[in-house]
Amino acid sequence: MGDRGSDGHTAVDRRSERELIVTRVFNAPIRLVFDAWTKPELFKLWWAPRSIGVPILSCEMDVRTGGSYRITFGRDASDAMAFFGKYLEVSPPSRLVWTNDESDAAAVTTVTFEEKDGGTLLVLQELYPSKEALEDAFVGMEDAMPEQFVQLDELLISLDASG
């Protein structure tokens, strides 16, 4: 129905008013998938893929229960945007829970890793404080980056000039 999306790889499901579930199976052992989420040198290789359009500037992660993380995105320090929070639970290699403290309306994220046919079933849950918070949450980094709006302005100006 209208509350589900899938292309056979990544499935997204709005499980309830405040809850979004993302699932995907990876063809790799659970231990390595967990590593890719908890070692900063691996994490920063994939969390901001090229198609998202904004690179990771820095990534600090103290991956233990009660530890903090801080990730910044942007081209340079002047237009950087920080995402930060705390790990509420770190249980290798099956479960990670963290807060997103950059906004009062941000979700608590829970990621579980489960062995499945030699691969790894990953389930990511975002639990928002209210249904409004879920619906208003940014679709992705690109919405939040001022630089992108500058590019859009430029494009609209050039379209206007040529029209």
């Binding site: 509350d3 998938v33 679709v139």
Partner: protein, 132 residues
């Protein structure tokens, strides 16, 4: 490419009024109403036909259709004494596009993660063979 994606994203943001999304998702939270939507996807139907199909009273079905109509998921038209229900033109598309925008981001991310963990797996296999 990048600008096209950006325009699409912006379009999503403009398109989704939170109030409409609320109405849309709360309408879809009921299994009978989801059933009605599915049924109307195959053929238009009168309220009487829907009530019979879902073993409900006429009043009960009128309420459900009212909720779907409020959310823009269904439109109704009264001809003579019969009220015919059909799928709304864009209600479902809006909900689906909202999910699709989120799926787009996670899929890009997880495609990149997939490459990393597959490379790690291959490396481990090679290292394992070299040790043997």
């Amino acid at each position: 490419m990048k600008t096209i994606r950006m325009l699409k994203t912006l379009n999503y943001m403009v398109q989704f009024s939170p109030a409409r999304l609320d109405a849309c998702f709360s309408a879809l939270s009921d299994s009978t109403r989801r059933g009605v939507i599915e049924h109307l996807g195959t053929a238009d139907a009168s309220i009487t036909e829907l009530a019979e199909k879902f073993h409900m009273t006429l009043t009960g079905m009128k309420k459900h259709v009212g909720v779907l109509e409020q959310a823009g998921l269904v439109t109704t038209e009264k001809v003579g004494r019969v009220r015919t229900c059909k799928l709304g033109p864009r209600g479902l598309e809006e909900g689906a596009a909202w999910i699709e925008a989120r799926r787009h981001i996670w899929n890009a991310r997880f495609d990149a993660l997939d490459e990393i963990v597959e490379a790690l797996t291959r490396k481990e296999k090679v290292d394992g063979r070299q040790r043997e």
